[in-house]
Structures are given as structure tokens and as C-alpha cells.
């Protein structure tokens, strides 16, 4: 369980996050949605200790993550930010094996190789495992990075806009993978996502942020309502029923 308590973040005089209080239970997919500048990515980076809060706490199963030794946290929580990594000439397999670093400190044992093998096959990367990252398409590279954080075998996996730069085909397969990782590998996956329909179709919980504050939190059926979504995005949004999931329509 991750608890965020009275969290504030300010840059100089700008309040990016104001009094965030959250509880995220383990297992399942949690989507954080909201307009640009709502503070979604900032919240994710603070929840993963990449940034310090100005005030407040994030607790992982009761422990303050900003006080915890970073290596210990790396065995329980993984974070992948949007792709702006230094594109190095590592092979996919070499990159994925870095996911074992929190456990092995560089000395890979039998157990680590098994995890690497599993992560590669889970993300369908076995055919690409000996290719260099700079020879891959954006979608393939994104999958390789996701394989690295899954290989870390943490209870919590935080992904910042995992669909960024992916076409609809790759976006759908990425979301299916995230769903499978939650269901089959029993991970709790928290994603920041722009597309509210993807959030509604794949997440168990949705957290909506607006202007640095929590606008609402609930299941997709609770959030996918005109009265909830329209004020958040400042846009008339109609909800149309579609198969099992409500669909937001807002294009015209």
C-alpha cells in the first residue's frame, strides 16, 4: 500500500502540487489522468523518490520512502520516466539485465538470469535481445525499458506516460502488457496517462488531478461521467456506452 500524506510541491513560488492525500492499495492498475500541467508526472517522481516533496510524506507499507535506503526501495518499487534516456549502444539483453542491479549489484547469478529470460519473453523481446537499442524503433525501445523495470521484480511499478510516441497498435499492446503484468505477475502498476479511454478500459482505479490537486479518485465507472470529466478537462465530454467500458467522446 502506498500512502501519500499532505504532499506539497513548490518550485520557487509556483505550487505544483497542493495537499495531496492518496491511498493506493496493492495489486491492479492505477491510472493517473488530468490535463497538461496538472502535476501528474511530478506526483509520480515524488512517489518514487526521484524528487523531494516540499512538504508531506509518501509511505510504502508504512515506511517513509524518502528516508529509506535507496537500494532497499529499488527492490520494492520501480519507476520508468518518459523516454529521454541517453541512447547507448547496449543490447536489449544488456539493458534488461540492469534491472537486476538492485538485487545483484552487478554480479548476476542463476536466479537473475531466469528473471532476465522471463522479462524478455514476457515482453516478446527474445527475437530482439541481441540488437542494440539504437537500432530499434521507438516502440521496441520502450518495451525494452519496460522489460528492465519488470525484471527488477518490485511489487510496485510506476510508469510515466508509457504510451508516449506509440501508434495505436503499439499503444494497445503496451496496455495489454501492463494489464497482464498486473494480473499474472501480481504487480501494482501506476501509470500516468493522457488518454482517458485507455485508462477506463484497462485500469482498476483512476485518479484525476487538476491544478495540482486531486479532483477525484474512483473506479472507471465512477470517474467516466460527464459531470466528473467535463470540469476537469474544461471541455464538454459525452459518455457513450461501449461494450463493457464507458467511452468518452470529446472530438467535436
Amino acid at each position: 500500500m502506498i500512502e501519500v500524506q499532505q504532499l506539497h510541491k513548490r518550485y520557487a513560488d509556483d505550487a505544483v502540487l497542493t495537499d495531496i492525500n492518496l491511498r493506493i492499495d496493492s495489486t491492479g492498475v492505477v491510472a493517473i489522468i488530468g490535463p497538461n500541467g496538472a502535476g501528474k508526472s511530478t506526483l509520480l517522481t515524488i512517489m518514487s523518490r526521484l524528487q523531494q516533496p516540499s512538504h508531506g510524506r509518501v509511505r510504502l507499507d508504512g515506511e517513509d520512502i524518502h528516508q529509506m535506503p535507496t537500494r532497499q526501495l529499488a527492490q520494492r518499487l520501480a519507476i520508468l520516466r518518459q523516454e529521454n534516456h541517453f541512447v547507448s549502444r547496449l543490447t536489449v539483453r544488456e539493458l534488461v539485465s540492469f534491472g537486476r542491479y538492485p538485487h545483484s549489484q552487478g554480479k548476476l547469478r542463476q536466479r537473475d538470469w531466469q528473471s532476465i529470460e522471463q522479462a524478455l519473453s514476457f515482453l516478446d523481446l527474445l527475437p530482439l535481445q541481441h540488437r542494440y537499442l539504437d537500432q530499434l524503433s521507438g516502440g521496441q525501445r520502450q518495451r525494452a525499458y519496460v522489460a528492465m523495470v519488470l525484471c527488477q521484480e518490485t511489487d510496485y511499478v510506476l510508469l510515466d506516460e508509457p504510451l508516449n510516441n506509440l501508434d495505436i497498435h503499439h499503444a494497445v499492446s503496451m496496455m495489454k502488457l501492463i494489464r497482464r503484468a498486473a494480473d499474472e505477475l501480481k504487480r501494482t502498476i501506476i501509470i500516468v496517462i493522457h488518454d482517458i479511454n485507455f485508462a477506463a478500459a484497462y485500469a482498476d482505479q483512476i485518479i484525476a488531478l487538476k491544478d495540482g490537486q486531486i479532483a477525484c479518485q474512483g473506479t472507471p465507472t465512477e470517474i467516466m461521467r460527464t459531470s466528473v470529466l467535463s470540469p476537469i478537462f474544461n471541455l464538454p465530454i459525452t459518455i457513450a456506452p461501449y461494450e463493457k467500458h464507458p467511452l468518452a467522446v470529446f472530438y467535436r
Binding site: 535507496t70 537500494r71 520501480a78 520508468l80 534516456h85 541517453f86 549502444r89 544488456e94 549489484q105 539504437d134
Partner: protein, 323 residues
Amino acid sequence: MTRSRRLAYAALALLLPLLVLLSLAAGGQWLNPLGYWQHDASAQQVLLISRLPRTLSLLIAGAAMSIAGVLMQLLTQNRYVEPATAGTIASASLGLLLTALFWPSSPLLLKMLIASLFALLGSALFIAIIQRLKLLSPLLVPVIGLMLSAVIGALTTFIAVRFELLQALNAWLNGDFSSVLQGRYELLWLTAAIALVIFVVAERFAVAGMGYDVATNLGLNYHATQTLGLALVSVTTAVVVVVVGALPFLGLIVPNLISLAYGDQLRANLPLIALTGAALTMACDILGRVLIAPFEIPVGTLLGVIGALLFLWVLRQTREVAR
């Protein structure tokens, strides 16, 4: 080890001994190093006091500066950064000059320590600048480093001119092994020890090379690792500048050549980077000894020319790979 890496090791295993023999032999007086016992006492002295130390220091300094280059590239997440394009060499020279000015009789070890401290401050300043600027193009990063080096270099030259130390300064600014003698190069072994330390903790630097976010996610204390790396690069650079003078481009070309051929797996690459750097430096130095004999072209000058050409080629290749 992949097959192609084995090929590179085989080539170096042939080339390096050949270069070592040539380096022992070449000079104002050509001597056959294998016939050491047949030489008269004075020739034996030349071999023992001058040629052997020179050859050893070429090996060590070439390897150390190449490894310093790859480390600098990991710490800045930029392929085009090395001690010459990060203000490290310029700061070390400034430190040396100030020591020569205020404490001319200080022992070599102390000179080296002060130069290391300056090198560390200069490269830390460089890293602080590039982190604040958030440059869009990776090619701009070394440009900033060159500008910083130019500013520090201008200050250094100004002081040197005012206090008539220009000649001493030029000796540090351009690598030259002709004055290496027994008793005057042993400090270089420190850089060999540092290279060994880097090899032992290579995995940490490889993780740091993926940037703050990824490294922190993997449980690495990024800033501590960065500071350790900068300190190792600074001491290496300072020692090399004190003993033989600056060796430009080595840290840039050698790691990029190896990366192009074998990728970026750090631990597997480090021995190759060290050996290739040693071979290249030694080849340039031998060339410098024979081209205009009985005079010598300083190795720093030749590395500058050959390095620039090689680097242009590497840039072209990298572009093609990236496409």
C-alpha cells in the same frame, strides 16, 4: 567474449609488443633493445634510464586518459565529452601554474594534488553548467566545455604572461614524452591504479551512465557515484598533465571507436579501451620521433591531428549507425 572482441585482442597482442620494441629502439640513437647485453654501458643507460621509462609512461598515460574519457562520457551521458572538452585539463593547468607561482619548490606530489583539486572543481563547474542549461543537442555539450576551457585557459595564459611562466605552461599544455626519465614518471603508476579501481567498480559507473532517473531507480546513489568518478578522472588528468602534459582527443576517439565496434558494455570494453589507447599513444609518439629526426614532434600535436581526423570519421559512422 564474442568472437570479434577476441579478434581485437589478438590484433593488439601482436601490435603492442611490436610498438614497445620500436619505442625502445627509436630515438636520436637507434638501439636494439633485444641486444641489451651486447651494448656498451652508455647505450645500456639510455635504454634503462630514458627509453624504458618513456615506453612505460606512454603505455600508462595512453591507457589512463582513454579510460578517463569513457568515464567522463558516462558521468555526463554524452559521447563527446572528455577531459579536454570538460574544463578538466584547463583547470589542472591553472592549478599547476598557480603552484609554480606561489610555491615553486613544492614537491611533485603536492603539485599533483593541487592540480587534481583544480581539475575536480573545474569539471564539477562544467557539470553544474550543463545540468542547468538542459541542452537539446548532445553536440552542444562539448562546445560549452570548450568555451569553459577557453575562459580558464585565457586566465591561465594571462597569469603566465604576467609572471613569465609561459614556457612552463606550454610544457603542460602539450603532451611530450621526450623529457620522461627514470625518477620523473613514477607518479603515473597512480593512474594505472585508478584504472584498476574503475575496472573493479565498473558496474556502478555503467548504471550511472544511464542518467540520474534510471540510476536512482536501480538503487544507485547517483551523486556519490558522480563525485567519485569525477575525482578519479581529475586525479588521472592532473597526474598526466604534471608528468607529460595534456593528451587531447584520446579520451574522445578511443572509447567511441570501441563503442562503435562492440557496443557499450563497460566492463568488457575497459581492457580494450586501455590497450587501444596505449597503442595509439605509442604509435603517435614513435611517429613523432622519426618524422623530423633528429628533432621530435610532441605527441600532443600528433594526437591532435590524427585524433581530429579519426574523430571526424567516427562522427560519420555514428550518424550512419543511428540512421
